[in-house]
């Protein structure tokens, strides 16, 4: 049996392809939106995964250090070390900074850690770790700096000695790593003028020996939840396991953004289905006479339904392929991470097929109402 849908498409192939590519761009945007969400989740977990702690000790009743501000005395690390099961104790600071790169301001997320502890909360791509706690910095390649570059920060100028690749904060800002005490001074040290004013007022300036979190690794065989309960009981701080910290990041920190993206994706899908529906409807309206002739010469409804349905599904498939190409090509140009995974594409493909079938219904309904006598002149 002649495939009417295929013949009709072949007859106006250029128009059909251009239409499919137009819809494909919309589908591509849907894929990118899903990819942006995946990228957000991925980015949010880079730093916690690099830190690879069993427990996160933060200021009492806060969701620190990422979702809420948290401040702890650095010397808490000594008493934490004394808890049964605790193996390593690492005080860490986090801070957003704006620095100049090639005269352009860029935002970075700075992590301060004790460089003498042998602990490295990052994965080096090139260069080396910080060897001396003075004027050395590790930056991510995304900052645009190179090994040996100088970066003015606060009162000092730092030299890039090592580089990570694609290490970003949950907000997508590239990471920089520096010595804990230098990071503390950057974050907590008041200016000379304020120190002088504080002295005149008779007050004491706050110590810089403050951190945002202290991360712990446990000895083998110890249950993180039990150790966390002990620390909460004795030190009156909030303690989270690595899983709880992941949940805070993914559920609390990016939940609203994820919902926003989800809403946007749903709206785009609705718009895509309305557009496919309108296109199929218009294509059907353009074939009213041919449909009337088909009915007049005896074509059963199934042949007409198949013709419209197949065109709609083929439009969806072509648009999906076009959208996939568009998404994969353009994903690299986005400033934040966009992760396109095949399972998302497959799910979207199924949605597009369903949408295409639903979209063809209005066209089919119109076609089945065509009066065959309209093919005969009066």
């Amino acid at each position: 049996m002649i495939n009417l849908a295929q013949r009709d498409i072949a007859h106006s192939l250029g128009k059909f392809i251009v239409t499919a590519l137009g819809v494909g761009m919309l589908i591509g945007v849907v894929l990118i939106m899903i990819g942006v969400y995946r990228g957000m989740v991925h980015d949010a977990m880079i730093v916690p995964n690099d830190i690879a702690a069993d427990l996160w000790v933060v200021q009492k009743d806060t969701l620190g250090p990422f979702a809420e501000n948290s401040r702890l005395h650095e010397d808490l690390k000594y008493s934490l070390k004394g808890f049964l099961g605790v193996d390593e104790v690492h005080p860490i600071t986090f801070q957003s900074l704006q620095i100049l790169q090639a005269k352009k301001p860029i935002r970075v997320f700075a992590l301060g850690y004790d460089v003498f502890s042998g602990y490295a909360p990052y994965t080096l791509n090139v260069g080396r770790s910080i060897r001396i706690p003075h004027k050395e910095i590790i930056v991510d390649t995304k900052t645009g700096f190179k090994l040996g570059d100088s970066i003015p920060l606060g009162r000092e100028t730092y030299t890039v000695v090592g580089m990570t690749h694609k290490a970003v904060s949950s907000g997508g800002d590239p990471m920089v790593y520096l010595d804990l005490h230098e990071a503390q001074e950057l974050q907590f040290l008041f200016s000379n003028e304020q120190l002088r004013n504080d002295r005149f007022r008779g007050g004491n300036s706050v110590s810089t020996a403050t951190v945002n979190t202290i991360v712990l690794t446990l000895k083998e065989g110890f249950d993180p939840k039990k150790v966390a309960r002990e620390i909460q009981r004795w030190k009156h701080q909030s303690v989270y396991t690595q899983q709880e910290q992941s949940d805070i990041l993914t559920k609390n920190l990016i939940e609203r953004s994820a919902k926003q993206i989800g809403m946007f994706t749903v709206i785009l899908l609705i718009v895509s289905s309305v557009i496919i529906s309108l296109i199929i409807y218009t294509m059907t309206i353009g074939k009213m006479k041919e449909i009337a002739i088909l009915k007049l010469i005896g074509a059963p409804n199934i042949i007409i339904t198949k013709m419209i349905g197949q065109q709609s599904v083929l439009l969806g498939i072509l648009a999906f392929i076009g959208g996939n190409i568009f998404a994969n090509v353009s994903a690299n140009f986005f400033p934040k991470t966009v992760i396109l995974i095949p399972t998302d594409a497959l799910k979207l493909f199924l949605v597009i097929i369903i949408v295409s079938i639903l979209a063809s219904l209005s066209g089919i309904r119109t076609a089945l109402r065509v009066d065959p006598s309209s093919a005969i002149g009066g």
């Binding site: 007859h11 007049l296 010469i297 005896g298 074509a299 005969i376 002149g377």
Partner: protein, 231 residues
């Protein structure tokens, strides 16, 4: 005794109800036989198209009795379940403006109906080529309708109408879009087909010049068949 292929008995068609009711056909009664060419002649709005669409089981009559090929298809109500099946198995259509499917080539336009009837592609193609050869357009089988002249298109339309070996061909002003010479040629061809293949051909026409080519002429005026003229 010769059996009619089309039999209409007191067929009427009324559109609308109450005060707005318009009777398009009033108690039409006639019979048409195999191999006969019949012209439906009449001014615009006289009811010719209604009559032809009722014979083609497209428009439902309001009353009367209609038989096609010996089978009663309407007797105060439709007695058939699938009128499209009846059309594609028994009736061929020829239109004023050839009305070929623009996205199918000549061969596909001709084979479509027989393929819908379940004939294999091979057999329907063979039959279509035979018809195209008979009508003198075999060399156009791979052309699209837009690449054909008016006369060629109408010949292809005639081939399509014959592809399902119909017993009845209903033609709606098949020569209206053709010049005098081509119109005459198409009408002569239809007459030849009717006589050679024993097909009943009913043609709606305005063109009085073609009337000598018909076996019978039914004049339709104000919904009534007023005159029956035989050549």
């Amino acid at each position: 005794m010769k059996k009619p292929i089309i039999s209409m008995q007191s067929i009427s068609k009324t559109y609308g109800t109450g005060d707005s009711a318009v009777t398009a056909i009033k108690e039409a009664t006639f019979e048409i036989y195999s191999g006969e060419t019949v012209a439906l002649l009449g001014p615009s709005g006289s009811g010719k198209t209604t009559l032809i669409t009722m014979i083609g089981c497209i428009t439902e009559p309001s009353m009367g009795k209609l038989s096609l090929n010996g089978e009663v298809v309407y007797d105060q109500k439709w007695l058939i379940h699938d009128e499209r099946k009846l059309r594609r198995e028994n009736i061929g259509f020829i239109f004023q403006a050839h009305n070929l499917i623009p996205f199918l080539n000549v061969l596909e336009n001709v084979t479509l109906v027989s393929q819908m009837n379940g004939v294999s592609t091979k057999d329907s193609n063979a039959k279509a080529r035979e018809l195209l050869d008979y009508l003198g357009v075999k060399d156009k089988e791979n052309k699209m309708p837009s690449q054909l002249s008016g006369g060629q298109s109408q010949r292809v339309a005639i081939a399509r109408s014959l592809a399902n070996n119909p017993k009845i061909i209903l033609a709606d002003e098949p020569t209206a879009a053709l010049d005098g010479e081509r119109a005459l040629s198409v009408m002569q061809l239809l007459r030849k087909l009717a006589h050679e293949q024993k097909v009943a051909i009913v043609v709606v026409t305005h063109d009085e010049r073609m009337l000598p080519l018909f076996d019978r002429i039914l004049r339709v005026e104000d919904g009534m068949i007023r005159e029956v003229q035989s050549n």
